[in-house]
Symmetry: C2
Subunit: 206 residues, 2 copies
């Protein structure tokens, strides 16, 4: 049955990306067979080549979709805390960690992909990365308006903050934390440690 009945054109692309994400959640590695994706979508493997140049292109689309989801989730979970920068940072970070623990393989695909996926930094990919970071920069600036982190370069501190959270999540995802207790919520402990440090920079505390 060649050409589809016109309506089924609910963009195979979209469905392929969605289904791939779902299949990734049931795997350790990203080597999900194209045939499996095709079956989930409801077509055959070669049909996907009409929508993606090759498997890498599909995985890059998944990679980008992951960033969109992460960004949206961070925004949604944190928007109630706009007024309280520290609570905002905390909520952002927890959403970030939650996302990683809920989608470990997708997270690995997003943050440790074979460079062939991220290499040609499509503007989208870069913009998405920036968007995620930008939320942190804003939060750091808000902290500074409250007298915290005086004299610090917001971008630099935001990047350090992000790096720490990402690093903690990344290490926690592979059990490389010191002991069981810390391992379990290593990421959250790191977040608290960072907030603790930021709080300690308040000039008017006693």
């Amino acid at each position: 049955m060649p050409r589809p009945k016109k309506d089924a054109a609910l963009d195979i692309s979209r469905k392929a990306v969605e289904e791939t994400i779902r299949l990734l959640s049931k795997r350790d590695d990203f080597d999900v067979p194209l045939a499996a994706v095709a079956e989930a979508v409801g077509c055959t493997a070669p049909a996907l080549y009409g929508h993606f140049r090759n498997k890498d292109a599909l995985l890059r689309a998944v990679h980008d979709a992951g960033f969109r989801r992460l960004y949206e989730e961070k925004r949604a979970r944190a928007k109630h805390f706009r007024a309280e920068p520290l609570a905002y940072l905390r909520a952002c970070s927890h959403a970030y960690a939650q996302f990683a623990f809920d989608n470990p393989t997708l997270y690995r695909l997003m943050f440790s992909p074979p460079p062939s996926l991220a290499a040609d930094q499509g503007p989208l990919s870069t913009d998405l990365g920036r968007s995620v970071l930008e939320l942190v920069v804003k939060a750091i600036r808000a902290c500074q308006k409250q007298g915290l982190l005086p004299g610090a370069d917001p971008k630099r501190y935001a990047f350090t903050f992000w790096a720490a959270v990402h690093g903690a999540v990344s290490l926690a995802l592979q059990n490389r934390a010191p002991d069981e207790k810390i391992r379990q919520d290593a990421a959250l402990v790191v977040v608290d440690t960072l907030l603790e440090i930021i709080t300690a920079t308040a000039p008017d505390r006693r």
Copy 2:
């Protein structure tokens, strides 16, 4: 030519791991063909199955060897700074970052492997991870003996420190830093930022 001439028994295992590391340095992903490893070693692909249960086992050996190298390099590069905890931390971290930039693919294999490799936490793997972290714990304790980071839990802060450095390296390796200038040595900037923060906790400074 079956059985080797007795002397060539220079442990294929060792050579296989070494050559795999070398082949990885010329690739983006870890999908180095077994046949390529075999050729570099000087045997055929199936011969490797006499030394490793399967390809994953070989990659895990490479993973572990990577940690041994990292640990040794950190030790070697930092031992001159035993007396100065901050300089020691700095040297450790720089060695760490250098290692990652010199061996990006190996670094990814070590820190973002498909869980199938690290899953069955062989005691070795875990011990190696602990060894690397232990160096940081000692350094943090040394800092505290100089009055820095008063009242902090060394393990917790060490883990946070490691997470930040690892996160920065990991992000830097994939160009996900904010802008060009920071991206280039993002990891080093993060290290400096961390040291700056630690320094700022000195009680007797003015």
